[in-house]
């Protein structure tokens, strides 16, 4: 346990001092500031955009939380690309494996420690955005966030665990960072996003088993508007509980399976 925490702290240190972290930090601050600006500027114009003269305050507040979360739900993908894609491939490409592999520590501990460190720095990035979100929406609506906010946050953490696990698995396959970066992008944006679109258009079914579909639950806990699903009817009510359970299950399956495969691959990783 103490070796695992040593590994975790070491990688946290290396992550938060890295250029990737500062780049993500910069991006998240820019996005947060833009969201704050648009929220303050258009708070009263939102009903007009939706073709209505006015919206009930509670609905307006939920709509703003939905919009903030809709943007937030995309950030883990970028964070996993930045922090996860090169996580294991860089050990080979940068030759740090020659230092770390001969140390008296099992590789699965290295894997878990680095994975947890990557998740932690992603959560730090997310926390910054969430602070902006709570500050702005608290200021505008003078309310504490509803229970949906905590559901959404919990699901977001699960999504981060899941997408980071997939990214680590991909990183464990490659010895070059570039291949890992490209593969993660391809898998998320082509296999998942485009695949989801094609399946919906061709077969008229929603591929709920794809991770990107499951991740829509993060904002659908506010309003059941699935922007990736042409078949679903948008609703201002929250997604039903069954949808939440299904999405959680999908994310957990991705998390567990990719974690096991990733660890297996890393255990057999060779520096040749």
């Amino acid at each position: 346990m103490s070796k695992l925490s040593t590994i975790y702290l070491q990688y946290i240190k290396n992550y938060y001092r890295s250029k990737s972290f500062y780049l993500m930090l910069f991006l998240i601050i820019v996005i947060s500031v833009m969201m704050t600006y648009f929220s303050l500027k258009y708070v009263n114009d939102l009903p007009r955009f939706l073709g209505s003269t006015s919206l009930p305050p509670a609905l307006k507040e939920t709509l703003f939380y939905f919009l903030w979360t809709f943007v937030l739900a995309n950030i883990p993908v970028f964070a996993s690309v930045f922090f996860g894609s090169p996580a294991l491939s860089s050990e080979i490409e940068n030759k740090t494996a020659y230092y770390i592999f001969p140390l008296p520590i099992n590789r699965y501990k290295l894997y878990i420690g680095k994975y947890l460190a990557a998740v932690t720095v992603t959560l730090i990035i997310i926390a910054i955005y969430t602070v902006f979100e709570l500050g702005t929406l608290g200021f505008l609506f003078k309310n504490l966030p509803s229970i949906d906010f905590y559901y959404s946050l919990g699901l977001l953490v699960l999504f981060i665990l899941s997408i980071m696990s997939i990214t680590f698995m991909i990183s464990a396959i490659f010895n070059k960072n570039t291949y890992a970066y490209i593969s993660v992008f391809i898998i998320y944006y082509i296999v998942f996003e485009a695949g989801s679109l094609i399946i919906e258009l061709l077969y008229k079914v929603t591929p709920t088993y794809l991770l990107n579909e499951a991740a829509t639950i993060i904002d659908r806990v506010y309003m059941n508007i699935n922007t990736t699903d042409f078949l679903a009817k948008p609703s201002i009510s929250p997604a039903p509980f069954s949808d939440i359970v299904l999405a959680m299950l999908v994310m957990i399956i991705y998390l567990v399976i990719s974690f096991i495969i990733g660890m297996f691959l890393f255990e057999r990783k060779e520096v040749s």
């Binding site: 230092y99 592999f101 008296p104």
Partner: protein
Amino acid sequence: MEIFMDSLTKKYGKLTALNNINIDITGHGCVGLLGPNGAGKTTMLKLATNIIKPTSGKVEINNINVAMYPEKAMKYVGSLIEQPEFYPYLSGNEILEFTGKIKGIPKNDYLRDVKNLKDITNITEFVNRKTGTYSRGMKQRLALAVAILGGPEIVILDEPTFGLDPKGMYDIRELIKEISKEHLVLLSTHLIYEARELCDRAIIINRGNIGHDSKMDENKELLKITAENKIKIISNKIVNYTMDNDYIIIEKNKNFENYEVINDLLKEGLKIDYVEKYDNLENTYVSIINKEDSYK
């Protein structure tokens, strides 16, 4: 302290990097692993340090299978393989501290050890800087400090003087001599004179096979003499000699200096043109490499 390799084979696709290697190295001292580029030296060291896994066979460190129980086996080993890199955003101090914790070195021992190591490896000047800013030589020194931190029973070094200036090379060699008095050092090197200076045993490896394995005493420095005439040599300063058409190879008694042996030979009437040191290890090395090449 023991490194035991049993039927060790490593293949990369169709290429056999190591072929059925059997070696048993025990006790303190330095064992030199010699061979040309691509001979399989580094592969052997990588297998002994859990960087790669064997295709078949096994490596045991103190009777612990490295591939199966790396955490247990590597407790006894400090290593410097190829030219390792470190996490660029961490300082040398942080790397040493992390290594100490992973090796399970108690804090007081660590503080004492690290102070000595910084002096020995000459890293004090830059150890607070992030390793991403280090030169090749600085990284090599830090890697050596990491390898010997905590005084592991077995130290595995892959060309440790690579990238160092002459003073750095000298310091490292002196350090290896010191370490091998109480620890087992497995040293891979291209340099025969380095192996001769540091090691008690030499293993020559070529094309994944062991070509030669002997104690360094058996690779004595001999004298190669070119002379105008031939005589029967009788001298208590000479243990043995061989003569052919071109030169005489003399194995001298260790108690005598070279000039004393040559004086005797001159007194006996040998008309000496030229005397040079004859490196048996070097000749063995060359003959093994040439023999293998001739099979191509």
